[in-house]
């Protein structure tokens, strides 16, 4: 089914989905997806609403475990240790400690800016004030928001603008040094300028972390990603280097979607 569009992955592989299926109760919403994420690259998931791209993304940090009636089949191997993170022997908390997530709607906690970023560290048992200070500052710098908030770290995060809140959420995820960072349509609630900032930031942080991003916006996928996967009705239709998928897609369905004839 999958057409692999000139996929010569040159770098190391960070994670690999193997024949992954997912069920909401009896409904099979992902149908045997196999694809690999290259380390320090951005992989974008595109496709029409309901195609399963967010469902696929949320398998990577076991978010589906929070709700009853969900079931995985197949696996996702996290490299280099080759742990199948969907295995029932693996604690979902452990998975979420290794894989961070940024959500569609900016969702800072109703706490101070500092406490938002420090929370993930505190959950991991970091209590020394000097270490917390240091890592919060580093994360806020990595989230490109340090200059805007350094003088008001004790302010409530809710007082920031939407774009700032989303960068704070990215900093919160980066603070714990994740191996893989998931973005679920991170700019769909933001204006074009804030969106531009986030896209620039994604280009910056991929130097240190592997990124998987769901986006509704094909221009965004083309701008930020190295690899693109097109999904439709729970299936992976085409996966390959972004330049290839957007300029000469191998499947008719992909071409129809990209050119706006469908979707």
């Amino acid at each position: 089914m999958v057409t692999t569009n000139t996929t010569r992955m040159t770098g190391a592989i960070k994670a690999e989905a193997r024949d992954l299926s997912f069920y909401y109760g009896d409904f099979k919403s992902l149908k045997g997806i196999s694809m690999a994420l290259e380390e320090h690259k951005v992989t974008a998931l595109i496709g029409p609403s309901g195609c399963g791209k967010s469902t696929f993304l949320r398998c990577f940090n076991r978010m589906h475990d929070l709700y009853p009636g969900n079931r995985y089949e197949g696996g996702i191997d996290l490299k280099p240790d080759n742990v199948n993170i969907l295995s029932s022997d693996v604690d979902p908390i452990e998975v979420r400690m290794r894989i961070g997530m940024v959500f569609q709607k900016p969702n800072p906690f109703p706490k101070s800016i500092y406490d938002n970023v420090a929370y993930g560290l505190r959950v991991r048992g970091v209590t020394a004030r000097s270490e917390l200070d240091d890592r919060v500052e580093r994360a806020l710098k990595a989230g490109a928001i340090w200059n805007e908030v350094k003088d008001r770290l004790d302010d409530l995060a809710f007082n920031l603008s939407g774009g700032q809140q989303q960068r704070l959420c990215i900093a919160r995820a980066l603070a714990t040094d994740p191996e893989l960072l998931l973005f679920d349509e991170p700019t769909s609630a933001l204006d074009p300028i804030a969106t531009g900032n986030i896209e620039e930031l994604i280009g910056e942080i991929k130097k240190n972390v592997t990124i998987l991003i769901v986006t509704h916006n094909m221009q965004q996928a083309a701008r930020v990603s190295d690899y693109t996967a097109y999904m439709y009705l729970g299936e992976l239709i085409e996966f390959g280097e972004t330049s290839g998928v957007f300029t000469k897609p191998e499947r008719k369905e992909t071409e129809d979607y990209i050119t706006g004839r469908f979707g």
């Binding site: 959500f103 969702n107 714990t176």
Partner: protein, 324 residues
């Protein structure tokens, strides 16, 4: 992308010349609709003012009768055979101590149950059953709680006719209110905040204790206070468990000057509460005692108003700070 133009009626068929609308008819229809809405507004104002006026009249009547009797002495005197010397010291102290027990019992149990039902319990027939029961408990007549307490706390557990028994009984009475309002407060925390906490690796308990409880504290406290305001006026269950109507002593103070500073004898003490003191005075033929009852009623009402005011203030504070 999703609504092709061809589906809209505007684009269907060939354009036809439109006739001028019958403006006179249109205007008369609008005028009659406006008339009806004005009539409803008047009816609404009447209904509202009726409810408010009746309450206000009752309150003013109580105030006129009772206010002249309220003084420092009234608050610091024990009840007496002479109406002019009688006071409500033992009653308001009793009410305060009973409320303390009520709060200390209902808050942890109610909030614990709410967190369990909302965050931990799996959805199945058993939790459905618990939910229906909790909802129904709120509608059980308060005297039934009194009977239950008489059998369970007074005789079975041997707590006697004490502050402890009364406090636990009222705690049981307001438990459904605390559970239901705490669950609502927990449910008001949006899913995306929960997912944010889980997303950085929090366990369920860390999510609950670091996020849900702090963010819903205001809503929970509002429910607790409203429950207490309801409990403080309860008379029937307290009579059932055998509170005395004439008490000329205070329970031993809970806080002592000597080590260990805390003293729990008051829990087992006999007691009376404000509504019972009122009931006792109202049932006497002497008019002077009935004025005492009105004065006690004013005090009771003020306590309730202060509690409700506190609940409103808390809710306002929470809404100001946390907007999802």
């Amino acid at each position: 992308m999703d609504t092709p133009m061809a589906d809209t009626p505007m684009a269907q068929g060939s354009p036809t010349a439109r006739q001028a609308p019958d403006l006179a008819r249109l205007r008369s229809r609008i005028a009659s609709a406006e008339r009806r809405q004005k009539i409803f507004a008047i009816v609404g104002v009447l209904c509202t003012s009726f409810a408010v006026l009746v309450l206000l009249a009752a309150f003013l009547d109580l105030l006129f009768d009772g206010l002249p009797r309220i003084s420092g002495d009234f608050l610091t005197n024990f009840p007496s055979r002479r109406a002019e010397q009688a006071g409500i010291l033992s009653a308001w102290v009793g009410s305060a101590l009973v409320m303390l027990v009520t709060m200390l019992s209902a808050v942890p149990i109610g909030i614990g149950a709410a967190i369990y039902l909302e965050e931990y319990a799996r959805k199945n027939w058993f939790t459905d059953l618990i939910e229906i029961n909790v909802a129904n408990l709120a509608g059980v007549p308060s005297i039934v709680y009194g009977l239950l307490a008489l059998g369970l706390f007074v005789y079975q557990f041997g707590f006697g006719e004490s502050v402890l028994t009364a406090g636990l009984t009222l705690g049981l009475l307001i438990l459904p209110i605390v559970i239901v309002s705490s669950r609502e407060a927990l449910r008001a925390v949006p899913i995306h905040i929960r997912e944010a906490a889980y997303g950085v690796g929090a366990t369920r308990w860390q999510m609950v204790s670091d996020h849900l409880v702090p963010y819903s504290r205001g809503g929970m406290m509002t429910g607790v206070i409203l429950g207490m305001a309801e409990a403080i006026g309860q008379t029937a269950p307290i009579i059932t468990i055998g509170a005395l109507t004439f008490i000329a002593f205070l329970p031993p103070p809970p806080i002592g000057a000597e080590f260990p500073f805390l003293n729990f004898e008051w829990l087992m003490s006999e007691f009376t509460v404000l509504p019972i003191q009122m009931y006792n005075w109202v049932s006497r033929p002497d008019k002077a005692f009935q004025l005492n009852a009105a004065a006690a009623g004013v005090i009771l009402l003020l306590m309730t108003l202060v509690m409700n005011g506190l609940a409103i203030y808390l809710r306002y504070q929470v809404r100001k700070k946390i907007k999802w």
